[in-house]
């Protein structure tokens, strides 16, 4: 009985399928195991790069990637990275998210100890290309308008796009997107103001 006739037997097929499933899972497990360390390192580097981008250069002298505190914000856990100088917390970096035109816009923002904006960058969004994507720094400098702003500057009612009587520019053809970003950043500042003591005080 040759191989060709064994191959057509009913028993051969499930065994073959099983062997291939086993080989595939074995290969996946092995690759996953051997790449896990390198992937974690690469992602940590990505995070460090994006954190360093919202902080002015030389602002922190600590490894703020590992100096974190977790707080609740609107039912979600927010990780706050603390930038220190000589052991004193000088600023905090955290993510805020707000529903944009298509999906949530995720923004990374840094504030100094007094609640003044150090910088903001959009990490993730799904806004219309060519209209709403001007919130990316690579497309337009708009996001830099937030630098140096705080809850008192401009006044709370001016924290809005110009169309709504505020101080922030909207883009031609896209009001929803900048409105969402302004709301997110203001929400972040409110959140910081409410939890300032916990963020600054706790020395862990």
């Amino acid at each position: 009985m040759g191989f060709a006739s064994i191959r057509e037997k009913l028993g051969y097929q499930p065994v073959l399928l099983g062997v291939f499933a086993l080989l595939a899972s074995g290969a996946l497990a092995w690759v996953s195991e051997s790449t896990a360390g390198a992937i974690a390192a690469a992602e940590a580097k990505d995070l460090r790069d994006s954190l360093a981008e919202v902080l002015p250069q030389g602002f922190a002298d600590n490894d703020f990637l590992h100096d974190t505190v977790d707080l609740e914000n609107k039912g979600k856990t927010v990780t706050i990275y603390r930038a220190r100088q000589g052991g004193v917390v000088k600023g905090a970096i955290f993510k805020v998210a707000e529903r944009g035109y298509a999906a949530d816009i995720v923004i990374l923002m840094a504030v100094d100890a007094d609640g003044k904006m150090l910088g903001a960058r959009v990490l993730k969004h799904a806004e219309t290309p060519g209209l709403g994507d001007k919130i990316e720094l690579s497309k337009a400098p708009w996001i830099k308008d937030f630098d140096g702003k705080s809850l008192g500057n401009p006044a709370p009612e001016k924290w809005a796009v110009k169309k709504d009587g505020g101080v922030f520019d909207q883009f031609a053809g896209a009001t929803i997107t900048p409105r969402a970003v302004v709301k997110a950043v203001k929400g972040g500042l409110d959140f910081y103001a409410a939890h300032r003591k916990e963020i600054l005080g706790d020395k862990s």
């Binding site: 191989f3 191959r7 057509e8 051969y12 097929q13 499930p14 073959l16 399928l17 291939f20 499933a21 595939a24 290969a27 996946l28 690759v31 996953s32 790449t35 390198a38 992937i39 690469a42 580097k45 990505d46 219309t128 290309p129 060519g130 209209l131």
Partner: protein
């Protein structure tokens, strides 16, 4: 997939394998396969090129593996075996790139997972690799992949040029800084947004398909005329 399942007459004639892959049986323009990634990623020439190259790599390896196991796998369970094989392969490529080519992965990462849904890969396994030798299958995978890359790059370039007035924007992120000369920008052109949005993909693909049909009809008519002109001489 019905078109891909048709018996490919090329056999092991490498010239016709390459011609089929690049033009006659082009994945996008003739077989009309893999339209999901085609529509989704061709917002710029660079994206099309990146997706095409990643797909080509997966296609070559999957063709080689399928051809290697073609005598072991019985025809009744071949489809699930190939699906497992391709899905595993794509996942491995995804993880390896994420780990050791992280900068490239940040540009291409989104597309790698999309390769799993690319039916052209299963299509080539079924239509070619399962019936042919390892080397011929590798050549077929390469030719089909390059044909796919060409189609995606062309659609991407047209959409990018009409939509944002640039050519190969951010190509140096994908290919390295020495390819920055590819990047071009049309000064003072705001771009027709529609071409970047999904309808632009359908419009460009439609015009290109129509163009290819016209070229093929002309070639056919010319061939007919030539034989028609030659026939009376013989008679």
């Amino acid at each position: 997939m019905s078109d891909a399942l048709k018996e490919v007459p090329s056999g092991e004639n490498y010239g016709s394998i390459i011609k089929d892959g690049l033009w006659e049986q082009n994945v996008v323009f003739s077989q009309m396969l893999a339209l999901c990634p085609t529509m989704a990623v061709t917002t710029s020439g660079t994206n099309g090129l990146g997706m095409g190259l990643a797909t080509t790599a997966v296609l070559v390896v999957s063709n080689i593996l399928v051809s290697m196991i073609r005598h072991t796998v019985s025809s009744q369970v071949r489809i699930p075996v190939f699906v497992v094989l391709i899905a595993t392969l794509v996942t491995v490529v995804d993880m390896v790139m994420n780990a050791w080519m992280h900068d490239l992965y940040k540009v291409l990462g989104l597309f790698i997972a999309l390769i799993v849904v690319n039916c052209a890969i299963l299509g080539r396994a079924e239509a070619y690799a399962v019936k042919n030798g390892v080397f011929a299958s590798a050549v077929d995978g390469l030719a089909m992949g390059l044909g796919f890359t060409g189609a995606l790059t062309l659609i991407g370039l047209i959409r990018e040029f009409l939509g944002s007035g640039t050519l190969f924007a951010q190509a140096s992120n994908l290919l390295g800084p020495s390819f920055a000369f590819l990047e071009m920008k049309l000064p003072g052109y705001g771009g027709a947004l529609l071409m970047i949005l999904p309808p632009g993909a359908f419009a460009v693909l439609g015009f290109l398909l129509a163009g290819k049909r016209v070229m093929e009809q002309r070639a056919e008519a010319r061939a007919k005329n030539a034989s028609g002109g030659a026939a009376p001489l013989v008679a």
